[in-house]
Protein backbone atom coordinates (compact mmCIF):
# COMPACT_ATOMS: atom_id res chain seq x y z
CA UNK A 1 0.00 0.00 0.00
CA UNK A 2 1.62 3.22 -1.12
CA UNK A 3 0.45 5.91 1.25
CA UNK A 4 -1.00 9.00 -0.36
CA UNK A 5 -2.08 10.90 2.70
CA UNK A 6 -2.18 10.49 6.45
CA UNK A 7 -3.68 12.09 9.54
CA UNK A 8 -3.69 11.52 13.27
CA UNK A 9 -6.42 12.57 15.64
CA UNK A 10 -6.49 12.60 19.45
CA UNK A 11 -9.45 13.50 21.63
CA UNK A 12 -10.80 12.99 25.12
CA UNK A 13 -12.76 9.82 25.94
CA UNK A 14 -16.16 11.53 26.08
CA UNK A 15 -19.25 10.39 24.29
CA UNK A 16 -19.83 13.79 22.65
CA UNK A 17 -16.66 13.15 20.65
CA UNK A 18 -18.14 10.12 18.90
CA UNK A 19 -19.89 12.30 16.32
CA UNK A 20 -16.79 14.46 15.87
CA UNK A 21 -14.59 11.40 15.31
CA UNK A 22 -16.74 9.89 12.58
CA UNK A 23 -17.22 13.23 10.80
CA UNK A 24 -13.46 13.90 10.85
CA UNK A 25 -12.54 10.47 9.47
CA UNK A 26 -15.25 10.74 6.82
CA UNK A 27 -14.01 14.19 5.77
CA UNK A 28 -10.50 12.78 5.37
CA UNK A 29 -11.64 9.67 3.50
CA UNK A 30 -13.67 11.92 1.18
CA UNK A 31 -10.41 12.56 -0.71
CA UNK A 32 -10.79 9.06 -2.19
CA UNK A 33 -14.13 10.07 -3.69
CA UNK A 34 -16.17 7.30 -2.01
CA UNK A 35 -19.88 6.83 -2.60
CA UNK A 36 -22.31 8.01 0.08
CA UNK A 37 -22.84 4.36 0.98
CA UNK A 38 -19.10 3.84 1.50
CA UNK A 39 -18.94 6.97 3.65
CA UNK A 40 -21.86 5.68 5.75
CA UNK A 41 -20.05 2.35 6.22
CA UNK A 42 -16.87 4.10 7.37
CA UNK A 43 -18.74 6.42 9.74
CA UNK A 44 -20.58 3.51 11.32
CA UNK A 45 -17.43 1.42 11.83
CA UNK A 46 -15.54 4.38 13.32
CA UNK A 47 -18.47 5.10 15.62
CA UNK A 48 -18.40 1.50 16.90
CA UNK A 49 -14.66 1.43 17.57
CA UNK A 50 -14.59 4.88 19.20
CA UNK A 51 -17.60 4.05 21.39
CA UNK A 52 -15.85 0.86 22.51
CA UNK A 53 -12.69 2.77 23.45
CA UNK A 54 -14.80 5.21 25.49
CA UNK A 55 -17.07 2.77 27.31
CA UNK A 56 -15.05 -0.46 27.43
CA UNK A 57 -11.44 0.74 27.21
CA UNK A 58 -11.70 3.55 29.72
CA UNK A 59 -13.74 4.20 32.84
CA UNK A 60 -13.42 7.98 32.89
CA UNK A 61 -13.84 10.81 30.37
CA UNK A 62 -10.35 12.30 30.64
CA UNK A 63 -8.33 9.70 28.75
CA UNK A 64 -7.09 9.95 25.17
CA UNK A 65 -8.53 8.12 22.17
CA UNK A 66 -6.32 8.14 19.10
CA UNK A 67 -7.25 7.64 15.46
CA UNK A 68 -4.74 7.19 12.65
CA UNK A 69 -6.04 7.28 9.09
CA UNK A 70 -4.02 6.47 5.99
CA UNK A 71 -5.18 6.74 2.43
CA UNK A 72 -3.67 4.85 -0.49
CA UNK A 73 -4.82 4.83 -4.11
CA UNK A 74 -7.98 2.86 -3.48
CA UNK A 75 -8.28 2.10 0.20
CA UNK A 76 -8.46 3.76 3.57
CA UNK A 77 -6.88 2.29 6.70
CA UNK A 78 -8.20 3.43 10.06
CA UNK A 79 -6.73 2.60 13.47
CA UNK A 80 -8.67 3.39 16.63
CA UNK A 81 -6.41 3.14 19.66
CA UNK A 82 -6.93 3.34 23.41
CA UNK A 83 -4.46 2.78 26.25
CA UNK A 84 -7.15 1.39 28.50
CA UNK A 85 -8.21 -1.93 29.98
CA UNK A 86 -7.56 -4.12 26.98
CA UNK A 87 -9.42 -7.30 25.99
CA UNK A 88 -8.77 -10.64 27.73
CA UNK A 89 -10.32 -12.94 25.12
CA UNK A 90 -10.41 -11.29 21.70
CA UNK A 91 -12.16 -14.21 20.00
CA UNK A 92 -14.99 -14.12 22.53
CA UNK A 93 -15.24 -10.33 22.27
CA UNK A 94 -15.69 -10.54 18.50
CA UNK A 95 -18.60 -13.01 18.72
CA UNK A 96 -21.92 -11.51 17.65
CA UNK A 97 -24.11 -10.61 20.64
CA UNK A 98 -21.28 -10.95 23.17
CA UNK A 99 -21.09 -7.92 25.45
CA UNK A 100 -19.50 -7.42 28.85
CA UNK A 101 -21.86 -4.51 29.53
CA UNK A 102 -25.45 -5.75 29.12
CA UNK A 103 -26.40 -3.38 31.96
CA UNK A 104 -25.66 -0.48 29.58
CA UNK A 105 -27.96 -2.06 26.99
CA UNK A 106 -24.99 -2.77 24.72
CA UNK A 107 -26.04 -5.20 22.01
CA UNK A 108 -22.71 -6.95 21.54
CA UNK A 109 -22.90 -6.19 17.81
CA UNK A 110 -20.09 -3.62 17.58
CA UNK A 111 -17.38 -5.87 16.16
CA UNK A 112 -19.89 -7.58 13.89
CA UNK A 113 -20.90 -4.22 12.46
CA UNK A 114 -17.25 -3.27 11.88
CA UNK A 115 -16.62 -6.60 10.13
CA UNK A 116 -19.69 -6.22 7.94
CA UNK A 117 -19.12 -2.63 6.88
CA UNK A 118 -15.33 -2.76 6.43
CA UNK A 119 -13.20 -5.13 4.31
CA UNK A 120 -10.65 -6.00 6.99
CA UNK A 121 -10.80 -5.74 10.78
CA UNK A 122 -7.86 -6.64 12.99
CA UNK A 123 -7.95 -6.37 16.79
CA UNK A 124 -4.71 -6.04 18.73
CA UNK A 125 -5.22 -5.93 22.48
CA UNK A 126 -3.64 -6.92 25.77
CA UNK A 127 -5.15 -6.67 29.27
CA UNK A 128 -3.89 -3.55 31.03
CA UNK A 129 -2.28 -2.22 27.85
CA UNK A 130 -5.12 -1.11 25.66
CA UNK A 131 -6.67 -1.94 22.33
CA UNK A 132 -5.97 -1.13 18.71
CA UNK A 133 -8.62 -1.83 16.09
CA UNK A 134 -7.25 -1.63 12.54
CA UNK A 135 -9.82 -1.49 9.78
CA UNK A 136 -9.42 -1.28 6.01
CA UNK A 137 -12.03 -0.29 3.46
CA UNK A 138 -11.44 -0.63 -0.26
CA UNK A 139 -12.94 2.15 -2.31
CA UNK A 140 -13.80 0.64 -5.66
CA UNK A 141 -13.73 3.41 -8.20
CA UNK A 142 -14.83 1.21 -11.13
CA UNK A 143 -18.07 0.16 -9.49
CA UNK A 144 -18.67 3.71 -8.37
CA UNK A 145 -18.64 5.28 -11.80
CA UNK A 146 -21.63 3.27 -12.92
CA UNK A 147 -23.50 3.41 -9.62
CA UNK A 148 -23.35 7.14 -9.19
CA UNK A 149 -25.79 9.57 -10.74
Amino acid sequence: MSIKNEMKLEFLSRSQNEAFARVAVAAFAAQLDPTLEEIADIKTAVSEAVTNAIIHGYDNPNEIVQIITRISDNSVMIEVIDRGKGIEDIELARQPLYTSKPELERSGMGFTVMETFMDEVEVISAPGQGTKVRMVKHINHDVQETERD
Partner: protein
Protein backbone atom coordinates in the same frame (compact mmCIF):
# COMPACT_ATOMS: atom_id res chain seq x y z
CA UNK B 1 -30.79 24.03 11.12
CA UNK B 2 -27.55 24.96 12.83
CA UNK B 3 -24.35 22.91 12.87
CA UNK B 4 -25.05 21.11 16.12
CA UNK B 5 -28.56 20.03 15.20
CA UNK B 6 -27.11 18.13 12.27
CA UNK B 7 -25.49 15.66 14.66
CA UNK B 8 -28.09 15.85 17.40
CA UNK B 9 -30.97 13.54 18.04
CA UNK B 10 -34.45 15.03 18.07
CA UNK B 11 -37.56 13.19 19.15
CA UNK B 12 -41.15 13.83 18.22
CA UNK B 13 -44.13 11.85 19.35
CA UNK B 14 -47.77 11.23 18.69
CA UNK B 15 -50.38 9.07 20.37
CA UNK B 16 -53.10 7.05 18.67
CA UNK B 17 -55.15 5.35 21.40
CA UNK B 18 -52.89 2.62 22.82
CA UNK B 19 -50.12 3.22 20.27
CA UNK B 20 -47.17 5.50 20.94
CA UNK B 21 -45.56 6.78 17.72
CA UNK B 22 -42.09 8.23 18.10
CA UNK B 23 -40.08 9.66 15.23
CA UNK B 24 -36.34 9.98 15.55
CA UNK B 25 -34.46 12.69 13.69
CA UNK B 26 -30.71 13.04 13.41
CA UNK B 27 -28.06 10.67 14.69
CA UNK B 28 -28.49 7.81 17.14
CA UNK B 29 -25.15 6.78 18.62
CA UNK B 30 -24.01 5.84 22.13
CA UNK B 31 -23.95 9.53 23.12
CA UNK B 32 -27.63 9.94 22.29
CA UNK B 33 -28.78 6.49 23.37
CA UNK B 34 -29.28 7.53 27.00
CA UNK B 35 -31.43 10.47 25.91
CA UNK B 36 -33.79 8.46 23.73
CA UNK B 37 -33.93 5.67 26.34
CA UNK B 38 -35.01 8.11 29.05
CA UNK B 39 -37.51 9.75 26.76
CA UNK B 40 -39.12 6.45 25.78
CA UNK B 41 -39.10 4.97 29.28
CA UNK B 42 -40.74 8.12 30.64
CA UNK B 43 -43.53 7.83 28.06
CA UNK B 44 -43.88 4.08 28.60
CA UNK B 45 -44.59 4.62 32.29
CA UNK B 46 -48.14 5.22 31.10
CA UNK B 47 -49.59 1.67 31.26
CA UNK B 48 -52.28 2.49 28.70
CA UNK B 49 -49.62 2.45 25.99
CA UNK B 50 -49.49 -1.04 24.57
CA UNK B 51 -47.73 -0.66 21.23
CA UNK B 52 -44.74 1.32 20.00
CA UNK B 53 -43.99 2.55 16.48
CA UNK B 54 -40.53 3.97 15.84
CA UNK B 55 -40.43 6.06 12.68
CA UNK B 56 -36.87 6.28 11.37
CA UNK B 57 -37.45 8.36 8.24
CA UNK B 58 -35.24 11.23 9.41
CA UNK B 59 -32.68 9.14 11.25
CA UNK B 60 -29.53 9.88 9.24
CA UNK B 61 -27.13 7.78 11.25
CA UNK B 62 -27.34 4.86 13.64
CA UNK B 63 -24.73 2.50 15.03
CA UNK B 64 -25.18 -0.63 17.16
CA UNK B 65 -26.06 1.51 20.19
CA UNK B 66 -29.47 1.90 18.56
CA UNK B 67 -29.96 -1.85 18.46
CA UNK B 68 -29.55 -2.00 22.24
CA UNK B 69 -32.14 0.75 22.66
CA UNK B 70 -34.65 -1.03 20.41
CA UNK B 71 -34.21 -4.40 22.15
CA UNK B 72 -34.62 -2.79 25.58
CA UNK B 73 -37.94 -1.16 24.63
CA UNK B 74 -39.09 -4.37 22.92
CA UNK B 75 -38.73 -6.14 26.27
CA UNK B 76 -40.98 -3.61 28.01
CA UNK B 77 -43.63 -3.67 25.30
CA UNK B 78 -43.71 -7.42 24.83
CA UNK B 79 -44.37 -7.88 28.56
CA UNK B 80 -47.58 -5.92 27.93
CA UNK B 81 -48.45 -8.16 25.01
CA UNK B 82 -47.86 -5.28 22.57
CA UNK B 83 -45.96 -4.90 19.31
CA UNK B 84 -42.94 -2.82 18.36
CA UNK B 85 -42.89 -1.65 14.74
CA UNK B 86 -40.28 0.33 12.84
CA UNK B 87 -41.02 2.33 9.71
CA UNK B 88 -39.27 4.18 6.89
CA UNK B 89 -35.93 2.40 7.03
CA UNK B 90 -33.03 3.51 4.83
CA UNK B 91 -30.95 0.86 3.00
CA UNK B 92 -28.00 1.43 5.35
CA UNK B 93 -30.15 0.96 8.43
CA UNK B 94 -31.70 -2.08 6.83
CA UNK B 95 -28.30 -3.81 6.67
CA UNK B 96 -27.67 -3.00 10.33
CA UNK B 97 -31.06 -4.33 11.47
CA UNK B 98 -30.79 -7.44 9.32
CA UNK B 99 -27.37 -8.17 10.81
CA UNK B 100 -28.58 -7.82 14.37
CA UNK B 101 -31.44 -10.25 14.03
CA UNK B 102 -33.84 -7.52 15.12
CA UNK B 103 -36.18 -8.39 12.27
CA UNK B 104 -37.08 -11.56 14.13
CA UNK B 105 -38.73 -9.54 16.89
CA UNK B 106 -39.65 -6.18 15.35
CA UNK B 107 -42.19 -5.65 12.59
CA UNK B 108 -41.12 -3.46 9.69
CA UNK B 109 -43.41 -1.24 7.58
CA UNK B 110 -42.97 1.32 4.82
CA UNK B 111 -45.09 3.93 6.52
CA UNK B 112 -46.46 4.72 9.96
CA UNK B 113 -49.96 4.31 8.58
CA UNK B 114 -49.28 0.73 7.48
CA UNK B 115 -47.91 -0.05 10.93
CA UNK B 116 -50.97 1.41 12.65
CA UNK B 117 -53.32 -0.53 10.35
CA UNK B 118 -51.46 -3.76 11.02
CA UNK B 119 -51.57 -3.29 14.79
CA UNK B 120 -55.30 -2.54 14.59
CA UNK B 121 -55.80 -5.71 12.52
CA UNK B 122 -53.77 -7.83 14.95
CA UNK B 123 -55.57 -6.63 18.06
CA UNK B 124 -59.04 -6.69 16.43
Amino acid sequence: MNAKEAVDLLMDYDRKKDILIVSLKGELDHHHAAEIREFLDEKLKDPSIRHLILDLQSLHFMDSSGIGVFIGRYKTISKRGGQVCITNISPHLDRMLELSGLYRILKVFDTVKHAVDWIRGESA
